[in-house]
């Protein structure tokens, strides 16, 4: 399968990329690793008129330790994110998620920014960014801005990025002392998650002092399980934690598809949240 014809330009700087995109009009798209966009183009589900290759813009690559947060450039590959030493504490969630995306070949080429910009409700990174209250940074003709992950994902394959804007990276709070886990359920290895759960937990001597939970593929965008998070806070015993996790039923009914009914998705979410919270809290007795 070969994509429909398109024009191609390689940008050597962010400014050049933005001008090329602006000149290319509404069907121009930035191209990084291409591991989300090219498969869609080959199925002709995407037909951009112009691809602006930003893959060579070094200023968009790399992981920077800012003390209490970490900035990850859009062109940083999943392979590089998985091995980033700066991702400590709760932010280690991002590295764990990156390590489980696709396979080694995909992780060598696929980028964090491309995955975020693609805004696939079944992809793993968005739920993790949401759980960590990360910010997505954007550059456009009007300058740069940053958008909270909670406001960035607006629908299936739709984000708050305007035409002509490029995702330049994400800023992730470190949350030192917090533990993290990502649990996903797939029909076959490397399939998209039927449900995924990203959890960060602050486990103290008196139990759970704070928890944040992002859900993959439980709606048109990644979701936060706010009711579960609130109920988890202050719990320490397994029975209390399981009762808190059952609050997942307060979520809006998840979609049904060929892999799972809505009821099954809710069941999976409950099981996977329990596992993820136990793993993130570091209490193996909770795990099944």
């Amino acid at each position: 399968m070969i994509p429909a014809s398109f024009d191609y330009e390689r940008a050597s700087s962010l400014d050049e990329a933005l001008s090329l995109l602006a000149a290319g009009g509404e069907d121009a798209r930035p191209l990084a690793g291409g591991h989300s966009l090219l498969p869609l183009m080959r199925l002709r589900l995407a037909r951009p008129s112009l691809l602006v290759d930003i893959g060579g813009i070094d200023e968009l690559r790399g992981v920077q330790d800012d003390g209490d947060s970490v900035t990850i450039g859009a062109l940083t590959t999943h392979h590089e994110v998985a091995g980033a030493a700066a991702l400590t504490g709760g932010s280690g969630l991002i590295a764990k998620v990156a390590e489980g995306i696709g396979d080694p070949q995909v992780r060598h080429r696929g980028t964090l920014g491309g995955s975020v910009a693609h805004a696939d409700p079944a992809s793993d990174l968005p739920a993790a960014l949401l759980a960590l209250d990360a910010e997505v940074t954007l550059a456009g003709p009007g300058g740069t801005r940053s958008v909270a992950a909670a406001d960035f994902f607006v629908g299936p394959f739709m984000s708050a990025a305007d035409d002509g804007e490029i995702v330049t990276g994400v800023r992730v709070p470190k949350r030192e002392g917090w533990g993290s886990a990502y649990q996903k359920f797939q029909r076959r290895a490397q399939d998209w998650a039927i449900v995924g759960v990203a959890a960060v937990v602050n486990w103290t001597d008196s139990g759970i002092a704070g928890a944040a939970i992002g859900l993959t593929n439980m709606g048109g965008t990644p979701l936060r399980a706010h009711a579960v998070e609130a109920a988890l806070t202050g719990t320490s015993e397994k029975a209390q934690i399981l009762a808190a996790v059952s609050k997942v039923s307060e979520l809006e009914t998840p979609p049904a598809d060929e892999n799972a009914s809505s009821e099954y998705r809710l069941h999976l979410a409950q099981v996977l949240i329990s596992r993820a919270v136990a793993e993130a809290a570091g209490c193996p007795g909770m795990q099944r």
Partner: protein, 155 residues
């Protein structure tokens, strides 16, 4: 058409390509290096695995224009001066193939991985090959071959 310059197996090639040309088609049809196979055509099976700047990549999901300026190694580039690469030797000796279709991709994934981790455990080898499918399900000997190659290269 776009002019690109790609170094494949140490030889620099200048060529004009349509932007939509996939790297695997450029390698197979323009350079006539047909060792790299097209299997699933959907970035799943790994039969088209090559090394791009030393890292394994699925060449069905890379545009030829994206490889402009890159160093690419295909299965034809593994042997040197008529001597097989230790990974090729090990696949031969351990019978790491049945029909052979996945073999070039398996070997390229293995070569890329052993460069990163020269003495892996069996579990690590299995994980490292998760992006390569063998329809004959001959994984057992493939894993044995990669471990044997690691031993050979380390000794």
């Amino acid at each position: 058409m776009k002019r690109i310059s790609v170094t494949v197996n140490g030889v620099r090639h200048e060529a004009d390509v349509e932007p939509r040309t996939l790297l695997v088609h450029f390698i197979r049809e323009q350079l006539e290096l047909t060792g790299t196979n097209v299997g699933c055509d959907t970035s799943s099976c790994g039969a088209c695995t090559i090394l791009m700047n030393g890292q394994s990549a699925k060449s069905c999901t890379v545009l030829a224009v994206q490889a402009d300026g890159a160093e690419v190694t295909t299965v034809e580039g593994l042997a040197s001066n008529g001597d097989w690469h230790p990974v090729q030797k090990a696949f031969h000796e351990q019978h790491g193939l049945q029909c052979g279709f996945c073999t070039p991709g398996m070997m390229m994934a293995a070569v890329g991985y052993l460069d990163e981790n020269p003495s892996p455990t069996e579990d690590e080898v299995r994980l490292a090959l998760e992006g390569n499918l063998c329809r004959c399900t001959g994984y057992h000997n493939i894993v044995k071959a990669v471990l044997a190659a690691a031993d050979d290269m380390g000794s």
